[in-house]
């Protein structure tokens, strides 16, 4: 009769520490490769629209007239194709997940530097505003 097949495992589990993490009290383990969320360095963006064109969920909208870069976090599936295609490497992948949303929206708009001009473009680079939430 094979009734007590689990005994060894059960005893081992009884005298060892829990296999689970006390998330969110303890941060989730993340590796260097983890795709958490997309971040932008607005000073480097040249509004070339490559990320917008490649995005499979159309989460990114770039306006080169008013120089804004906008991401819809509810649409973004964190595939990192924008990070791969960005020619100036202004997009990076952060390893931490975005915290759960508690309200509607999810749009994030950044004012970016835009294409480089001949004169030293000090003003637009400094005038970058971090996260300006809509709604």
């Amino acid at each position: 009769m094979s009734v007590f097949q689990m005994t060894k495992t059960v005893l081992k589990s009884l005298f060892s520490r829990p296999a689970t993490l006390m998330y969110p009290a303890k941060p989730a383990k993340k590796t260097a490769n983890t795709r958490g969320h997309v971040e932008i360095d607005p000073a480097k963006c040249i509004t070339c629209k490559m990320c917008q064109r490649k995005c499979p969920t159309q989460a990114i909208e770039v306006d080169n007239k008013i120089r804004t870069w906008q991401i819809d976090n509810m649409r973004c599936v964190v595939c990192a194709i924008c990070v791969d295609t960005c020619p100036t490497k202004c997009l990076t992948m952060d390893t931490q997940y975005r915290p759960a949303m508690t309200a509607r929206g999810g749009l994030e708009k950044f004012t970016v530097a835009g294409p480089k001009k001949k004169e030293p473009a000090a003003a637009p680079a400094e005038g970058t505003k971090p996260a300006e939430k809509k709604e």
């Binding site: 097949q5 689990m6 983890t34 490649k54």
Partner: protein
């Protein structure tokens, strides 16, 4: 003659992770007829090929299923590569095979856990999922995603794995194999498991063949159908034999999956030993012009992606035939004549993945 009554099973049922609706026609406690209904989670992913470029569509193909995600993207890109006549680097083939087998491992562990849960064996459920976490950790550290890996692309893979990491994975698998042995003892030899599964939901090999059963459902009935034997990816250079059981009942299907995990570990070990150095991707230009049926073996069985392009960036047609869809007719046969109390176990024994089946 006893009066017939119809009992709805699903779409919301504690044992089902996904919505599948079965109308069970009962005579007393015996199931005499089953009318399955699907269509609760249709997302229209196949239609999206007309709106997305074929290179971006890889990410959408991957999201057809949440568990066999990697193999869906692999099947899709293999089809595109065949149409375009691309010879991808050998290292990429090996990496795809390794990740594919990792996803088979985590899918089977998930299923074994859910299966144990369906008959109230909670501690096995917890243990199976604890072991699954090691595999997900390896997947996350090599690809960046736990279940949606997103590493396949037309012309290769997006990430390379360092040789040190491969050695580490090999060591991890050795430990895992030891722990899996203990878990498998419960699934294969425990008295209560045998009592609950043996002789329940019998499918003869003729029925399995006639009704088009695939994957572990067919292999549990004695049919040695395994698309990996066609040698796609790196499988042509790997020695392995498909696991076949001849019982045809729920226990045989459970045993196939339990034993297949060791085959997967063996395949990964062979791949890591044989993997050549070199690039992992190549530059792809142009667009696919032609059509192709791409077939691979998923954890649940054979999946077919039909891809048709006309030389433009957007494909013309993409059609997926998923293993769960083909396993529904065998499921109806399995359920006829069983007791009402056995229905949850039998439904889970084909490993239904409705998200796949409806796309």
């Amino acid at each position: 003659m006893t009066k017939q009554i119809t009992v709805p099973f699903g779409p919301q049922h504690p044992v089902l992770p996904e919505p599948l609706h079965l109308d069970l026609v009962l005579e007393d406690e015996k199931v005499v007829d089953v009318i399955p209904t699907i269509g609760y989670v249709h997302r229209g992913l196949e239609k999206l090929v007309e709106k997305r470029e074929y290179t971006e569509y890889v990410f959408i193909a991957e999201r057809i299923c949440g568990i066999c995600s990697f193999i869906h993207s692999q099947t899709y890109v293999q089809g595109i590569e065949q149409i375009m006549g691309l010879e991808i680097p050998e290292r990429a083939e090996y990496l795809r095979t390794i990740w594919g087998e990792y996803s088979r491992l985590h899918s089977h562990l998930l299923w074994l856990g859910l299966f144990a849960d369906s008959m109230g064996f909670e501690s096995v459920f917890m243990n199976a999922w604890r072991l699954r976490e090691h595999i997900l950790d390896d997947l996350e550290s090599t690809t960046g995603g736990r279940v949606i890996q997103g590493v396949c692309k037309v012309g290769g893979v997006r990430k390379d794995v360092a040789p040190e990491k491969l050695d580490e994975m090999l060591k991890g698998l050795k430990n895992l194999e030891h722990e899996l042995n203990e878990l498998n003892n419960v699934f294969l030899f425990d008295q209560s498991m045998k009592h609950r599964l043996k002789g329940i939901g019998k499918l003869s090999s003729e029925d399995a063949y006639q009704l088009g059963a695939v994957g572990p459902t067919a292999r549990g009935s004695g049919l040695a159908i395994d698309i990996r034997e066609t040698g796609y990816g790196a499988f042509g250079k790997i020695n392995f034999r498909p696991v076949v059981e001849h019982g045809g009942d729920s226990y045989a299907r459970c045993a196939v999956r339990a034993k297949e995990m060791f085959t997967s570990i063996d395949i990964i070990e062979q791949c890591i030993k044989k993997i050549p150095d070199g690039p992992v991707d190549m530059k792809v230009t142009g667009a696919p012009d032609g059509e192709y049926f791409s077939r691979t073996e998923q954890p649940r069985g054979e999946v077919i992606h039909y891809i048709k392009g006309n030389g433009k960036k957007n494909l013309v047609r993409h059609r997926v035939r998923t293993p769960t869809f083909t396993n529904i007719p065998p499921l109806v046969t399995l359920l006829k004549g069983c007791e009402l109390a056995d229905v949850p176990v039998i439904v889970l024994s084909i490993d239904p993945c409705i998200g796949c089946a409806e796309r």
